[in-house]
């Protein structure tokens, strides 16, 4: 990891992608898309874990390097910062269904770093951030259109 000041750090996000039992279909497409984002300088991958939850609810965590042949992800694996702690595993696995496998991805939004740094240099402070669910957007636009169609 290259030394960078905190002032230059972009927002860091995480996601947990669950693969229900028998539903996974790994073709390499996910790895290719992830690497494309890294190569484009859009994100920097900070950490990856693979979680499994058995039918009894017991959770096991694996490092990416434990998966086996990584192919093009090998170079990415060598750069992981291993931010997640052991105590994070149960918190992340709370959303998983029994019998499933999940990938956890932690990444820095490099694309946002210059803007965030500029905002801070301008005296701004981030006071709120979040994601708007697609469902909320659907509800908004449908409510917006409802009065127009009711009279038709």
């Amino acid at each position: 990891m290259t030394e960078r000041s905190l002032d230059e750090l972009g927002p860091v996000d995480y996601l947990v992608v669950e693969f229900p039992a028998g539903a996974s279909n790994f073709t390499g497409e996910m790895a290719a898309e992830l690497l494309a984002l890294v190569d484009a300088g859009t994100i920097r991958v900070i950490d990856i874990l693979i979680l499994t939850k058995d039918e009894g609810g017991a959770v096991e965590a694996m490092e990416l390097s434990d998966v086996g042949e990584l192919g093009e992800l090998q170079a990415l694996e060598a750069e992981l910062a291993e931010l997640l702690a052991a105590e994070d595993v149960d918190h992340l696995a709370a959303a998983m269904e029994p019998g499933s496998t999940a990938g956890v991805l932690i990444w820095e939004n490099l694309w946002a770093a210059p803007f965030a740094a500029a905002a801070r240099r301008s005296g701004g402070q981030l006071i709120a951030t979040g994601r708007i669910p697609i469902q909320a957007i659907i509800a908004s636009i449908e409510a917006d259109e409802a009065p127009a169609t009711e009279g038709d």
Binding site: A86, E87, D88, H91, Q135, I141
Partner: protein, 53 residues
């Protein structure tokens, strides 16, 4: 397989149990077809749409 030793004893960054996010594909199943929903969302985020306040 166990996690790397460096992860043990470290302070976590997630903080609390993660709640399951609503799955969009399931959320849009009732009502109009998903394709129509997709078009609606695309229209909602298209530049030029103006809010009414």
């Amino acid at each position: 397989m166990p996690l790397r030793p460096a992860r043990a004893g470290r302070v976590g960054v997630i903080g609390a149990p993660v709640a399951k996010t609503a799955v969009v594909a399931k959320a849009v199943t009732p009502g109009p077809a998903p394709v129509a929903k997709t078009a609606v969302v695309a229209a909602a985020v298209t530049p030029g749409r103006r809010r009414r306040i």
